[in-house]
């Protein structure tokens, strides 16, 4: 499979990337690791006229301790998140979840910023960042701004980013406790999750249970009211709109959500 024709531009810096997106506008797409966008382009589900390759922006690949939070450059690869000693110590949920994305080859190329900006509800890290209550930093012609992760995902492949904005950093607050868990159910190791669940400090987020990654608010309310994990998990499918597709029926996904949330809450409790 071969993508439709496009013009390839390589950005040497974030400023150059912003100049290029200003020049080509909505005909252009940023390419980070390419492991979400290129498969869509090969299937001709996406056909941008211009590709702006961000692969050379090594200054956007970093993981640094900022006191109350950990700053992660948008071009940081899953492989580097997985093996980060700092994240392993301070945000183990994120390092662990990164180790479950795709397979080693995918983790060598895919980036955290690319995964978030792509806004695929079946991706692992967007839901994980919801559970971590992260903040996204975007840079555009109007300067830099912060976007709360709860407002960032607006629909399937739709985010709060303006067309001329570049996602530059993800800020992950250091969790208050050790109570975390990540659960993922897939047919094969390298597959997308049929359903997944991330838990951190009473926040519960779901992978692939709607058009965006979701907070399981009914579960969180039940927990806050003192419900036991198994009782709270019974609410996992409330407010979701899971798809019925070739991989699973909606009813099966709702069942999986309840099972995985129950397991996640139990594991998180055992760690806190």
């Amino acid at each position: 499979m071969i993508p439709s024709t496009f013009s390839y531009k390589r950005a040497g810096s974030a400023e150059e990337a912003l100049d290029l997106i200003a020049e080509y506008g909505e005909d252009a797409k940023f390419l980070a690791g390419g492991h979400s966008l290129l498969p869509l382009m090969k299937l001709r589900l996406a056909a941008p006229e211009v590709i702006i390759d961000l692969g050379g922006l090594s200054d956007l690949s970093y993981i640094t301790d900022q006191g109350s939070y950990v700053a992660i450059g948008a071009l940081t690869r899953h492989h580097d998140v997985e093996h980060s000693e700092l994240l392993g110590r301070q945000v183990p949920l994120l390092a662990h979840a990164a180790s479950k994305v795709g397979d080693p080859q995918i983790r060598h190329r895919g980036t955290i910023g690319g995964s978030v900006a792509h806004s695929d509800p079946a991706s692992d890290l967007p839901a994980v960042l919801l559970a971590l209550d992260a903040t996204v930093v975007a840079r555009g012609s109007g300067g830099e701004r912060e976007i709360g992760i709860g407002e960032f995902f607006q629909g399937l492949f739709e985010t709060a980013l303006e067309p001329d904005e570049l996602l530059t950093e993800i800020r992950v607050p250091k969790p208050a406790s050790g109570g975390w868990s990540f659960q993922k159910f897939a047919q094969r190791g390298l597959d997308w999750a049929i359903v997944g669940c991330a838990v951190q400090d009473g926040r519960v987020a779901l992978v692939n249970m709607g058009g965006t990654p979701l907070r399981a608010t009914a579960v969180e309310s039940a927990l806050a009211a003192g419900a036991a994990p198994a009782d709270a998990a019974a609410h996992a499918a409330e407010g979701t709109s899971a798809a019925d597709d070739i991989r699973a029926t909606r009813a099966y996904r709702e069942h999986l959500a309840r099972v995985l949330v129950s397991r996640a809450l139990t594991e998180a409790n055992s760690r806190s």
Binding site: G34, K42, D53, P104, H108, R109, G189, L190
Partner: protein, 157 residues
């Protein structure tokens, strides 16, 4: 567009379409046909090569992205007529049936052993999640990876 990269230690420059995939560049431009196209959807790993020393699926990388970088295919592993330890291990353990997945398996294992020189069997199995063998000949492939880790000689490509 012009791409200029190091392929198996040699410089190669070619004028290609912007949309050309790395795997097509390797097979059709550089004439290195050991790297196979299996699923063409980032699933099977038959097209695995090393990109700056790390395993990637070359069906999901543009040739343009590889410009300025170092690519190694299975043709680039043997040196001075000597097979690479991972190749020797595949021979010794009979780590293949039809052979189609083999170049990708070998490259994935070279990358795996570079990151983790003495993996457990479980680490080899999870490390090969991105490579499918449609003959289901996994046992000997895993044995080959474990044998390669114990072989004398330099494992990294």
């Amino acid at each position: 567009m012009k791409v200029d990269l190091t392929l198996n230690g040699n410089d190669i420059t070619a004028d290609v379409e912007d949309r050309m995939l790395l795997v097509h560049f390797l097979r059709d431009v550089a004439d290195l046909t050991a790297t196979n196209i299996g699923c063409d959807t980032t699933s099977c790993g038959a097209c695995t090569v090393l990109f700056d020393g790390e395993s990637v699926k070359s069906c999901t990388v543009l040739a343009a992205q590889a410009s300025g970088h170092e690519i190694t295919t299975v043709e680039g592993l043997a040196g001075n007529g000597e097979m690479h330890p991972v190749q020797r291990a595949f021979h010794q353990e009979h780590g293949l049936q039809c052979g189609f997945c083999t170049p990708g398996m070998v490259m994935a294992i070279v990358s795996l052993l570079k990151e983790n020189p003495h993996p457990t069997e479980e680490q080899v199995r999870t490390g090969l999640e991105g490579n499918l063998c449609r003959c289901t000949g996994y046992h000997n492939i895993v044995r080959a990876a474990l044998a390669a880790a114990e072989m004398p000689g330099e494992v990294p490509a």
